[in-house]
Symmetry: C2
Subunit: 148 residues, 2 copies
DNA sequence: CTAAATTAATTGCTATCGCAACTAATTATA
DNA sequence: TATAATTAGTTGCGATAGCAATTAATTTAG
C-alpha cells in the first residue's frame, strides 16, 4: 500500500461521487452543491444559513448560493426572523417536500454503489473511521483559524 | 449513524483536506490541483498526459492545466515524443527534484493529522476500505460512460 | 495510397468551493 | 444613550473540476 494514499482515495472518490450526484439529480435542476443543503433544510425546518453551514461543514458563501438556487427552483422558501432581522430561515415548499423521497432514494443508490460487496461489519467500520477522520481534520483546521 | 453519511463524510473530508494542502504548499505556488500531478510525474518520469489522467483519476483538461502551471513554475519540463508527436512527456526539473522531499513530508503530515489516534489495524483498514470504494465507484462511472 | 477513424492534447464553458471584503442588524460597553 | 464590537448574510475573486468541442498527429480501411 502506497503512502499518502488516504488523501488520494478521498479526492478521487469525491470526484466520482460528484459526477454520480450530478447525474442523479440533473433532472431536478439540482447539483452536488445543493443536495446536502436541501436535505439539511428538510431535517431542520427553519434553520438559518450559519447553522446550515456548520452542519454541512461548508463555507457560508456557498450555503448562501445553494439556498438562492434552491429557492429559485421553488424547492424552498425563506423568511426573515421576526425577532432578529439578521437571520433568514429556510423551509421546504410543497414542491420540495414532494422531491425529498427521490433525493433520499437517489442518495441511497449512490451509497450502495460505493459500498457494493461490503460485508455488514465493513459498512459499520467505514462510517466510523470516516467520522473519526472528519473530526480530526475539522478540529485541526479550526485550530488553525483560531490562531489567526 | 445516519444514512447516506459516507458520502457526506467523503465530501467534508475532501474540502478540509484541500484547505490543508493549499496551506501546506502555498509557499511553493502549488495548490491542491497540482501536487498529485507533480508526485505522479516524479514516480513516472516521462509520463504523458493521458496516462497521468488515468493514474490520478482526473479529467484530461485538468491534467493539462496542472502541467501548464507546474511547468510555468519551473518544477517540470515537457518534451514531445520523437516517435509519436501527439504525445507530450513530462519530467521533473532539478528545481522539481529539490522540492519533492518537502511535498512528501507535507503530505505525510496531513495524513497524520487525518488519522491521528488511529490504531495500526485501523490505519490498515481505512486504506483498504477506501480503495474498495474507489474501485466500486470508478467501475460504475466507467460503465455509464461506455453505455453512451 | 488516400480517406476515414482514432488518439492526445488543448480550449471554452459552467459549476463548486474557500477566502476576504462588505453591508445591515444586533449586542456590548463606556 | 451613543459608539464600538459582533453577528448574519452577501458579493467578488481566483482556484479546481468535468464535459464537450476543436486541433493536430497517427492509424486503419477501402
Amino acid at each position: 500500500m502506497e503512502k499518502h494514499s488516504i488523501g488520494r482515495y478521498i479526492a478521487s472518490i469525491y470526484r466520482y461521487q460528484s459526477i454520480l450526484i450530478n447525474k442523479q439529480f440533473e433532472q431536478y435542476g439540482i447539483g452536488c452543491g445543493q443536495h446536502t443543503i436541501l436535505i439539511n433544510i428538510a431535517l431542520n425546518p427553519g434553520i438559518n444559513q450559519k447553522d446550515l453551514s456548520e452542519r454541512v461543514k461548508i463555507d457560508r458563501a456557498n450555503t448562501h448560493r445553494a439556498i438562492k438556487k434552491l429557492e429559485a427552483l421553488g424547492y424552498i422558501h425563506t423568511d426573515r426572523d421576526e425577532d432578529d432581522k439578521q437571520i433568514i430561515r429556510s423551509c421546504l415548499t410543497e414542491k420540495g417536500e414532494k422531491l425529498m423521497p427521490s433525493i433520499k432514494s437517489g442518495l441511497h443508490d449512490i451509497t450502495e454503489i460505493m459500498i457494493k460487496n461490503f460485508e455488514d461489519p465493513e459498512r459499520e467500520e467505514i462510517t466510523n473511521l470516516l467520522q473519526k477522520i472528519e473530526e480530526n481534520v475539522q478540529k485541526y483546521v479550526k485550530s488553525l483559524r483560531d490562531d489567526s
